[in-house]
Amino acid sequence: MSATGIGAAVRRKEDRRFITGTGHYTDDINRPGQVFAYFVRSPHAHATIRSIDVKSATAMPGVLAVLTGAELGADKIGNLICGWMIHSKDGSPMKMAAHPALANGKACHVGDPVAVVLATTLAQARDAAEKVKVEYAVLPAVTDPAAAQKQGAPQIHDVAANNTIYQWHLGDAKAVDAAFKSANHVTKLDIVNNRLVPNAIEPRAAIGDYDSGTGTFTLWNTTQNPHVARLVIAAFVGMAPENKLRVIAPDVGGGFGSKIFIYPEEVVALWASKRVGRPVKWVADRSEAFLCDAHGRDHVTHAEMAFDVDGKILGLRAKTIANLGAYMSTFSSSVPTYLYATLMSGQYEIPQIYCEVDAVYTNTVPVDAYRGAGRPEATFVVERLVEVGAREMGQDPAELRRRNFIKKFPHQTPVIMNYDAGDYNASLKKAMDLADYKGFAKRKRDSARNGKLRGIGFSTYIEACGIAPSQAVGSLGCGVGLWESAEVRVNPTGSVEILTGCHAHGQGHETTFAQLVSDRLGIPIDNVSVVHGDTDKVQFGMGTYGSRSGAVGMSALVKALDKVEAKAKKVAAHLLEAAEGDIEFKDGKFSVAGTDKSAAWGDVTLNAYIAHKFAGQELEPGLKEGAFYDPTNFTFPAGCHICEVEVDIETGNTEIVAWTAVDDFGVVINPMIVEGQVHGGIAQGVGQALCEGAVYDKEGQLLTGSFMDYCMPRADHLPSMNVDTTVTKCPSNPLGIKGCGEAGAIAAPAAVINAITDAIGTEDLTMPATSSAVWLALQKANRMPHAA
């Protein structure tokens, strides 16, 4: 292993600009003559818009225009779409309601944009927005997913009776019923997977800039996938042909899924820039972000697990209602279906699984993928069932897991996935050793002496990452292919630019992708630059989410590097006057087998461009290759997280006192970056379990609309984490990578709740397990000790 190659903890190349304040996030960019957009948003969760009077707003100082859905319609700007078709069990297609970028006659959630003010300064735009008179006829609202389907619930969209988007299922219901009939024990749980607000610290932003001379649009945007944004805005919204629209994703301050989607604001910024003839900038306030960034999770589930007399799992069944909010966001339909039910087998050999999912509209912010997307929800169901099952049957939760682990690979689950490699015993054992599971009983006694309840919780999770084989996802309804592209441009002097369709917003691709190139070509890492995030530079790519950039994006890079090496060998053969087949390439040097003749990397790259040693007719000059890589399977990162908590009996306050994570991510390119991804994922999972939760009131007002009420995990909510790995190589991609971006967020919630419920001795606890929720659970279970 070289100091900068695969497996080395190389310090990040991108850091200098971030630690010196010289990064370029969207809001740091200013266009000459730019004006500011401020959105008038519905204060009502559900209302008919009777009229919009923009006259006095238009007359305000600095205002260039006030635009509404009427102008949007007149300009034939199309609706936003959901790009994954799900069919109900009766074969009918999902009921996708129109989603205009500015409300058209009706507002469906608090924050739904109904007009936009364009003005010279932001303060002027905001002042004028208050003068836009919107007459609403307020309608009854529904925010709870289970209530949305009930008789008499307010109907949000005409296309969806009972607000139901689809009623989907996966698995063999009859076989599962038979398995349950033969069971010795059945564990039943009602689970709420709480609604989360992603809250990347950089709020979303967009600058639309129309060039009337060339008829082209440029969009600077906080996006995780600029090409997908361009495709949707060109092909569906109809803003401009793809070749007349450039999307640039500069430095992006975190995404966690929320910046995958195509939102109304960027569409409006582009459209308005043509309307007013000036670049248009929009930057979300945090309060605004709470009302317009897609939320995550929000499931209500009843789940059951059947065990035989030996504690072997016989079957699992679950019925979930998934809240998709007021409109179907870009990938929303896939999250509670193919990214959820397909993971219901966990790490276990479960003969039969059946899962039903109803997706519903409610008068809330749209819900879509948030770190883990479906897989945290599945893991929570499976890992709570196993843990509670063990407790009910009086078995050790680790032992029950071990007994049910899948041990032979490949393993076909009853829910589509074919696990290719793993060693679940290894990660469990290593985690138990690191967590000193054997010493837990003593620690519990020590805590009790200090008036604290101590608990320990496991989560042996699995996820499907490396998203995704195009043919597979196409057959399941996805509207796009999920391959990735890479291009390697070698310069005459031997330095290299690589272009990737992935996009980094914290993941460190500028370092890890360069490590791969440095390793492969034997050149210094500083001679490698990574280009991403600009549709004019990178031909096409699918972006970064679903822990795909290593497994899919770097695999594309490997393919392109294969081609570069092959071409460079041809050049070297001419240069060294040897047969191409005799050229060997190692550590940045080309040599002729069996001789002492060799040429350095730089000699070969220069010769590729000057082309003095070969005729251009027989070998093309230049050294630049591209590749598209389409995976053949998902990857299956898995591992074991163990959480240990202390609960203050009197206040219900939970402190996480220890965290152990042992993950199998396959081959690791940069362990420092991988550990960082695990830490961050765990923090988000702990946030979901302990303190985060979006709460709506009955009228559809978001009660947790700022950091004053929505609790973001802070440094003192978290312990230092003990993070380690085991390795089984992923057999389906050339590097053996599985992916690490979401693991922590997937594993953590179940580990925390399993630990707290272990401590307090009752399972009746919903997330987030705030101190008041834990206290209430203790009260309900009548376990409150007499006041000390």
Binding site: M708, S771, S772
Partner: protein, 270 residues
């Protein structure tokens, strides 16, 4: 923010006169409540009167059994003052629990008290120590000063200049944070100075900071957590919101009061 004109008076008299002339004007002390509120357009004072150039409004002084803190004294300065740490250590500690380090560099005691946020820490200290609030017009006892949520006895054009703290024999503050805002979900301040026993509660009451006379009576018999054993306060009149029910807050008042008394006498509450 809505537009406003900005004034920087040099004296309290000038400030008071500006305030008298502009009924809707607001005083800017540390600004860490007012400015966020203005940014969200939840407040729109047409005039803002910055107190930071006025000499003599900040500072800490001890004279005999009383400690005087100027209205513009920043939380961080109270937190780190050797005088405060020596005279009323719990007050220094409490100041260090407000907001976060950057907030404490700007926020002031006068601003906090005048705002009387129902979840703020200083009102609990003021009521729990029985302070005297000194204004440009008069001296007001804490028991008369806090008149309800975001409401005080301050009259128009009245400006807090300093707060006078009697030095207690024993005192402690227990803060149970709202994990999102970091304000007190419930905070209980207890003190003992001769026969004057005080238990003041912030965060819990729907009408702002209040005293718990039943606890005070019990503690008068013996200043010990045991005196409060099994005692609680009614949930009626407690705040109830997504962060905690009235019952939970009422329960926490009892728990934190016992812990505070234990801390005050240097014992563990368990």
């Amino acid at each position: 923010m809505y537009a406003f004109t900005f004034h920087r008076p040099q004296t309290v008299r000038q400030a008071a006169s500006l305030l008298a002339k502009n009924q809707e004007a607001k005083l800017l002390a540390g600004g860490h409540t007012l400015l966020p509120t203005m940014k969200l357009r939840l407040a729109g004072p047409p005039q803002l009167i910055d107190l930071s150039l006025i000499d003599g409004l900040a500072g800490i002084e001890q004279s005999g059994r009383s400690l005087t803190i100027g209205a513009m004294t920043r939380h961080n300065d109270v937190n780190t003052s050797p005088v405060v740490q020596q005279a009323i250590p719990v007050l220094a500690k409490l100041a260090g629990m407000i907001g976060d380090p950057a907030v404490r560099h700007m926020g002031t005691i006068g601003g906090s008290i005048a705002n009387n946020d129902p979840n703020a820490d200083y009102p609990a200290a003021c009521l729990g120590l029985g302070v005297t609030i000194v204004t440009n017009k008069r001296r007001i006892k804490a028991d008369e000063f806090f008149t309800g949520m975001f409401s005080t006895a301050l009259e128009p054009a009245e400006i807090i200049t300093k707060v006078s703290f009697p030095i207690p024999k024993k005192a402690a503050y227990q803060k149970f944070r709202n994990q999102a805002s970091r304000f007190a979900l419930v905070g209980v301040f207890v003190s003992k100075r001769g026969s004057d026993i005080r238990v003041a509660v912030t965060g819990a009451g729907s009408n702002g900071v209040f005293r718990v006379s039943s606890f005070e009576e019990a503690l008068k018999k013996r200043f010990s957590p045991k005196s409060l054993e099994g005692m609680t306060i009614p949930a009626d009149g407690m705040n109830s919101d997504i962060h905690g029910s009235a019952e939970y807050r009422a329960h926490l008042v009892g728990v934190l009061a016992r812990r505070a008394v234990a801390e005050a006498i240097g014992k563990s509450a368990a």
